[in-house]
């Protein structure tokens, strides 16, 4: 041994298991930052290729000057800070527990002459020593994951991501990974190092008394069985840890509920309807003049995936059969079978609707709706001496720009019903969905067969599906990160808590606590954290969700109404439960497999 610091690698070999969690935390932080920055750089490179393709030999402006480049790096910076904070919290708590478990060791070091400053240096260098293995692993993992993500974007999402490089290596990503690894560890080791330096030399003689210092009141064994009471007490007695764990669970839940609103918001901004068309053909004067045979002609052409049409008949007089008969004029629009199918697929219908009655030649129709609409399912409307029954209501009016009916009644019928009612067979609108590999020539060929009365509208540029998917992908990716941090945190915390009390658990096993009781005790601790996090997280998350919904969505889309996100809540509960179970599994297995004599004598 050249100096006292040579003890660090020796001690890290001996304490490999205790250090595993800290190592995992560092790897995780490095991996995330490398992946985030690498993805940002890949995005910028993709934009560069796109601009090159578009402008040919035009000189490209500096990357960082481009708006997209700036946005991507800004997002990456925000994520960097978030990961740094989460990383510091995680690593700090594991180094803290690590130090707490070795009070006697530090006491002994002080006893044999190590100064406070040397202890601080020892703990810091010990933490940096972990970076030696954790940083390279994190970087490699980050690069590989970036490759996978790029491949997913390029081959599965496609469209505007078809230029993204797959096997790109980002220097920015690697450097930021190294920086985050070292910086988090240095910040995280600061407070545990001070704590270790404060250990009095006398602890070496008096033993590891740290764990008993915090106990101020006895366990209440009246409410629960003894093992449950002890587990709950372990969770509640360490206030700082309880706040950290509850906060970490609550934060994940709040973020999950808030991001769900964000996804809803983007859903409203870029509605993803299954019947969205790439090409629209309408009559130039708005009259009904497109021959129905045109549908078959287009259907057989190259590059066409699907063709469907709508007929319309406006301002028809009708009577609404209610307590007092209301007379008004209504609009009738026909939907082809595929169009009707899409209403079900896109969940456009209100509860209680029965769309199956509408298909074919029938007396059933659908109607548009908003919260001021007087219509109800089962209402009858008289049109031209024929009684039509409303079999279903749409959640809003898709024909108006604001989604509101503005007092107008619009009925949707099947093609056959429409023809029977009005005698009109011509279409007013033909909608075409093209195949993925449809060329511009294919589209021109379609426009060429149309006569002058038709307006040809190529809407392929307005497709938002891939942007929407990429957005959802990013949001869920971010949520997955937050979730992983929470899971790592609880697994880490429970594992550390068990390690800190291992001697006590050994004594409990010796005096007759069985394996199930040990598992129950650890589970009670984990579930106390999970439950308190769940309550606080769901309560504040729901409030925030409602608030965000009102601000972002309800003010702009007046037909949108906030409802309790039951599915999200179920997912959260299930997830929290799974995280708690995962946290209990490893430590209880470790205790079961450990000899009782080993746990009693472990110091």
């Amino acid at each position: 041994m050249k100096s006292y610091l040579s003890l660090i690698p020796i001690s890290s070999k001996v304490h490999r298991r205790q250090n595993r969690m800290t190592l995992l935390c560092i790897i995780f932080a490095v991996f995330l930052v490398t992946a985030v920055f690498s993805m940002a750089e890949m995005g910028v490179r993709m934009e560069q290729t796109r601009l090159l393709d578009k402008h040919g030999s035009l000189t490209l402006q500096d990357l960082s000057d481009s708006a997209m480049g700036q946005t991507l790096y800004l997002i990456a910076m925000v994520l960097f800070v978030l990961i740094l904070v989460a990383g510091v919290l995680m690593i700090s708590s594991s180094i803290n527990s690590n130090v707490a478990q070795r009070t006697k060791f530090f006491g002994m070091m002080r006893c044999i002459g190590m100064s406070k400053q040397q202890i601080i240096r020892f703990v810091r260098l010990e933490a940096l020593n972990w970076c030696k293995t954790a940083v390279p692993i994190g970087i490699v993992l980050g690069i590989v994951i970036t490759w996978c993500l790029c491949a997913v974007l390029r081959f599965i999402v496609g469209d505007e991501f078809s230029n993204i490089p797959i096997f790109g290596i980002s220097i920015t990503g690697i450097i930021s990974g190294i920086v985050v690894g070292i910086v988090t560890v240095l910040i995280a080791a600061k407070s545990p190092a001070k704590r270790a330096a404060k250990v009095s030399p006398v602890t070496a003689v008096s033993g590891n008394s740290e764990s008993t210092k915090n106990v101020h009141h006895a366990v209440n064994v009246r409410l629960f069985k003894i093992e449950t009471a002890l587990g709950v007490h372990h969770a509640v007695s360490a206030k700082k840890n309880l706040i950290l764990m509850t906060g970490s669970f609550a934060l994940s839940i709040i973020l999950f509920l808030s991001f769900s609103v964000l996804i809803d918001f983007v859903g409203y901004l870029m509605p993803q309807s299954s019947s969205t068309s790439d090409i629209n053909i309408s009559s130039s004067d708005g009259s009904i003049s497109i021959d129905s045979t045109l549908l078959d002609t287009i259907n057989d052409m190259e590059g066409v995936k699907r063709v469907f049409g709508r007929r319309s008949y406006f301002d028809v007089s009708a009577e609404l059969d209610r307590d007092n008969i209301l007379s008004s004029t209504i609009d009738i629009i026909s939907y082809d079978e595929f169009d009707l199918d899409c209403l079900t697929k896109d969940d456009m219908l209100k509860k209680g609707s029965d769309i199956s009655k509408v298909y074919g030649n029938s007396n059933y129709v659908l109607a548009t709706w908003d919260k001021d609409s007087p219509l109800k399912i089962g209402d009858k409307i008289w049109v031209d001496n024929e009684s039509l029954e409303i079999a279903g209501l749409l959640k809003y009016d898709p024909f108006s720009s604001d989604g509101l009916t503005n007092g107008k009644i619009t009925l949707i019928t099947s093609g056959d019903t429409f023809v029977r009612l009005t005698g009109i067979t011509d279409y007013s609108l033909i909608m075409i969905q093209t195949t993925k590999n449809a060329t511009n020539e294919d589209v021109t060929a379609i426009s060429d067969i149309l006569d002058k009365n038709c307006i040809f509208n190529d809407r392929r540029d307005q497709r938002t599906a891939s942007t929407y998917i990429a957005f959802v992908f990013c949001v869920y990716g971010f949520l997955a990160i937050i979730t992983l941090v929470t899971v790592l945190n609880i697994v880490n915390s429970i594992s550390m808590s068990v390690s800190a009390r291992i001697k006590q658990y050994g004594a409990m096993r010796a005096v007759g606590m069985d394996e199930h009781q040990i598992t129950k005790m650890i589970a009670a601790e984990a579930f106390t954290y999970a439950l308190s996090g769940c309550i606080i997280g769901c309560a504040s998350g729901l409030l925030l969700s409602k608030l965000l919904y009102d601000i972002l969505i309800a003010t702009h889309f007046s037909y949108a109404i906030w409802s309790l996100p039951v599915t999200s809540l179920m997912i959260i509960l299930l997830f929290v439960f799974a995280a708690a179970v995962a946290a209990v599994y490893a430590p209880s297995k470790r205790l079961r497999n450990m000899a009782i004599t080993g746990t009693i004598n472990e110091l």
Binding site: A218, V219, A507, E515
Partner: protein, 231 residues
């Protein structure tokens, strides 16, 4: 009738060149109600022997019969319950549960059985151990001697047939040591319990009904109190 029968007990740690034989073919028996001291050098195998008798550790070979039951033939679950009801442990480092008060620590094995502790018996133990005034105290509020008395109380609460004590006076001063030993002896007589106690203190060993010596994994019976080898 013998309460404890140990036959051909061997324990080897490690294998090959690094193998350490901690116990070498140990056999002996102890009748009911006897107070036995186990003496020997550090690392001689005393604690290993006690851990085997208490079924905290498994032997490489050999048997331990407590009241006719072969403990190493029991499945883990059954063994835990057997230990909880029939063997009381007292450790050198007390090993009390810091979150439980004196009374809760004493009744802990009963609570693990999901039974209500017998109030009169708890009172009796608290009185015998002079802990009535301390029942609500947490372990950290007690002196070493008091903590060891609580540990004795925990070992007595299930009225076990056998009490195993690993250097119960190792952390105590001479006055507390003699108090603890006299308490153990009183309990042994009063509740007809068999006590096996490891000690380094020759004068304490001299007061036992019988002394066993472990030396380099081999056990020899030094006999009763009048044995001159101890004095």
């Amino acid at each position: 009738m013998n309460l404890l029968e140990v036959s051909a007990l061997c324990k080897t740690y490690g294998s090959g060149d690094t193998a350490v034989k901690a116990l070498k073919n140990v056999s002996f028996s102890i009748p009911k109600g006897q107070f036995v001291a186990v003496v020997g050098e550090s690392g001689s195998g005393k604690s290993t022997l006690l851990n085997m008798i208490g079924a905290l550790d498994t032997p490489t070979s050999g048997n331990v019969l407590i009241d006719g039951s072969d403990v190493f033939r029991m499945k883990d679950e059954k063994l835990t319950i057997f230990r909880r009801r029939n063997i009381g442990f007292i450790f050198q480092a007390f090993n009390l549960i810091p979150e439980l008060n004196v009374e809760q620590n004493i009744t802990f094995p009963v609570l693990l059985d999901y039974k209500k502790p017998n109030k009169e018996y708890v009172e009796e133990i608290l009185t015998v151990l002079s802990l009535q005034g301390r029942r609500e105290h947490l372990p950290r509020q007690l002196s070493g001697g008091q903590q060891q008395r609580v540990a004795i109380g925990r070992a007595l609460i299930t009225r076990p047939m056998l009490i195993l004590a690993d250097e119960p006076t190792g952390n105590l001063d001479s006055q507390n040591s003699s108090e603890v030993i006299s308490l153990l002896k009183t309990a042994s007589k009063r509740y007809q319990q068999t006590i096996i106690m490891i000690t380094h203190n020759r004068s304490i060993a001299a007061t036992a009904d019988r002394v066993l010596q472990v030396s380099d994994g081999v056990l020899s019976d030094l006999g009763g109190m009048s044995n001159e080898k101890l004095s």
